[in-house]
Homo-oligomer: 418 residues x 2
Amino acid sequence: MDIKEQVTETGHKARKAAGLLANISTAVKNRALLKMAETLVKESDHIISENARDLEYARDKGLSGAMIDRLTLDEAAIKGMADGLTEIAALPDPVGEITGMRRRPNGLLVGKKRIPLGVIGIIYESRPNVTADAAALCLKSGNAVILRGGSEAINSNLAIARILQGVLKETNIPENAIQIISTTDRDAVNEMLKLEEYIDLIIPRGGEGLIRAVVSMSRIPVLKHYKGVCHVFVDESADIEMAVAISLNAKAQRPGVCNAMETLLVHKNIAGRFLPVMAGSFRGAGVTLKGCEKTCTILPDIEKATEADWYEEYLDLVLAVRAVDSIDEAMAHIEKYGSLHTEAIVTSDYKNSQRFLNEVNSSTVLVNASTRFSDGFELGLGAEMGISTTKLHAFGPMGLEELTTTKFIIYGDGQIRT
Amino acid sequence: MDIKEQVTETGHKARKAAGLLANISTAVKNRALLKMAETLVKESDHIISENARDLEYARDKGLSGAMIDRLTLDEAAIKGMADGLTEIAALPDPVGEITGMRRRPNGLLVGKKRIPLGVIGIIYESRPNVTADAAALCLKSGNAVILRGGSEAINSNLAIARILQGVLKETNIPENAIQIISTTDRDAVNEMLKLEEYIDLIIPRGGEGLIRAVVSMSRIPVLKHYKGVCHVFVDESADIEMAVAISLNAKAQRPGVCNAMETLLVHKNIAGRFLPVMAGSFRGAGVTLKGCEKTCTILPDIEKATEADWYEEYLDLVLAVRAVDSIDEAMAHIEKYGSLHTEAIVTSDYKNSQRFLNEVNSSTVLVNASTRFSDGFELGLGAEMGISTTKLHAFGPMGLEELTTTKFIIYGDGQIRT
C-alpha cells in the first residue's frame, strides 16, 4: 500500500469505529481508561527503552537541550501520563446529556442531545505524553482519534499507542478507536488533511510553524491558536502590590507557554509609581524589559521597544512595556497587536473592570488575576485539549465538551405540519 | 477600484462595524428592526419597481416560471418580509447571556459570556427576501453582515439593502453593519471567500451547486448542508394510520424543501398491510413511487428503483420506497445513503424508538412525527438562518444563538498561579 492508501484506510477504519464508539457506555470507557493508566505504568521499561531510541537519534541529530528535555520519558513522566488518564476517567461524560427539552405548542417534545463529533485528527510535535492524553480525551468524549506525532518521538509514540490499543481490545472497545500514523513520511500529513469524508476535526498541537502548515493544507475544519500575545493592563486605580504580583506571575511563572504575558500596558498616571517597583521585582526574576519612550524615561536603563516588539510572542523572560493614556488606548493596543488569546486588567475601578470584560474581544478576559489561569484545568473544564482563538465551535480553552456537538431529538405522537 | 480592492474594503469596513456593534444595546437593535419593517412597507412602490427590472431581465433570459415566482415581490411579499423583521425584534437577544458562572476553589469567579461571531458573509440565490431576513438575524445577534445575492435579483436586493442601511444611519448604528456587494461579477465571490481576516463565517443559502462552489473556494469556515435526503422508517409495530399521515406529510406537504422525505423505509412484516394503504393516499396526492424488488411485488404497478434512487434528493412529488428486514437494516441504509439531515421513525415499540434516537447520526431525529418539523421556527428557535449538517459549531437548524460564540470572563481579587 502506498501512503495515500494507508492513510485513507486509517480514516475509513476510524469512521467505522466512531459509529460504534458513540454508543459505548461511560462505564466501559472509564474501565478502559483506568486499565490504560495501569498498563502504561506496568510497561514503563518497554516505553523507556523505545524512548531511548528516539533520544539517541535526537542526540545524533544535535537537537537542543530543551527539545531533548521535552522528549524524555522517565518513570515519573510515565506516572504523570497515567495519572492524567485516571483523572480523565473521573471526569463527567459529556456524551448523552440532553438539554433544553421543551414541549412545543403542538405537543412535540424537542431537546438537544450531546453526541461525539466522530473522528478527530491530532497532529502534534515532540512531547510523547500527548499521545496518551489526546487519545484519552477523545475516547472519553466518544470520538475515534487518528494520532500523528512528530518524527523525533515516533518510537515512543508507537509504543504508547500500541499499549492503549491493546487495552481497547481487552475491554471490548473497537481497536480502531485509537490509531496512530506509523510512517514518519510528511506526505502522510498531507493525505490525512484531505480526508474530509472520514475526519470531522483536526487539532494541531505545537509551534506556530506547525499550525500554519496544517491550516494551509487542511480541507477539514481546524481548531487552533497561532500564538498567545497576552496583555496585562495596569489601570490608573490598580493596587500596586497586586499589579506587581499579577504581572510577575503572568510573565515569569512559566514564560514558555501561550498564556504567559508578552506585553504589559500601564496607565500613564500610575506608571511613575508602578514601573520602578515592578522593574525591581522583574530584575530579581531575570526578566529583560523593553519599553516605549515614556517607559524608558521612567526606567532609563532598559532597551527601547520597536514596533515589532508589540507583535512578539517571546515565550521567554522578555517583556515589552508600554504606557498608555487611557483604558481606551490600552484596548485599542490589544485589538491591534493581540492574538484574541488572553488579556487581564488590574484595576480598582468598577466601570473599567466591566468595560474591559465587555469590550475586549479575546477568548479569555480577566479582572485582577493572572493570565496564567487561561487553561482548561484552571477554569474548571477538568482537562484541556488545546486553546482556540477561532470563534467558531470553541473559543478559549477546550475541554471534553468542545469535542462534542448536539443533535435535535424529538418525541411526537403523530404530529404533522399543516 | 478593482473588484478585489472593493471587496476587501467592504470586509475592512464590516470588521470595524462589528467591533462597535458587539456592544450596542438590545433596545437600540430592536428599535432599528422595527423601523426597518415600517420603512420596507412604506417604500413598497420603490421596491416593486426595482423588482420589476429584475423580472423583466429574467423574462428576457427565459428563466423558468418557478424561478420567476421566487423572484417576484408584491405588496404581500414585502409585508411578509416586514413581519419577519418584527418577529426578529421580538426574539430574546442572545448576546450578553452569561452561563456556567462558578466559583473556583481559589476564589476566581469563572463564567462564559455569549458574544457575536463578528462578521458573517451570506451568499444566496433568487429570493430577495433573504436580504432582509439574513441582515436582520445578523443585526439582532450583533454581527456585521456582507450580503451577496444572485445577479438575477440584484436590483431588488440593492433596493432592500439600501432601505435597511438608511435605517441604521437614522438609529445611530454603524451603517457598515449591513453591506451588500453591488457588483454581479462572479470574481467578487472569489475575493469575498478569501477574506479570512475580515469574515468569521460564511453561510451559503441555495442549491447544492452554489453550496459546493462556495465550499471549494472558501478559506473561511462555512456552515451548510448540501442536501436533505431525509428518511421515514415505518417500523413493524407502527400504527398504520399514523404512518400514512406522517409519510404523506413528510413527502407531499411541501416537496421542494430540504426537510421533505425522499426515501421511505418499511419493515417487511408490515409492508404488506402498510404499502397498499399508503400507495392509495400517495396516488391521490400525485406522488410517483419507485420501489425496491419487494415493494414492487406488493405494488406491482410502480417503477423499479435503481441504486441511484437511494441517493437522490428529488425535491419533487417522487418517492423511493424500500422494504427492510429490521431496524438495523433501516439504520444501515440511512447511514449509507443519508445526508445527516433529518430522519423519522414511526413505531409503537419503546426500545426501537430509543435505539433510533440514539443511534441515527443525523442532525434531527424524530419519533412519530413528520420530517417537516426540522426547521428553526418549528423547533422553537424563533427564526432560522439555515440548517447545518456539518457537526462543528452547529448541527441542525440554526437560530440566533448559532450566530454567536462564548468567551470566558473571570473575576478575581489578585489571584496568581502557584
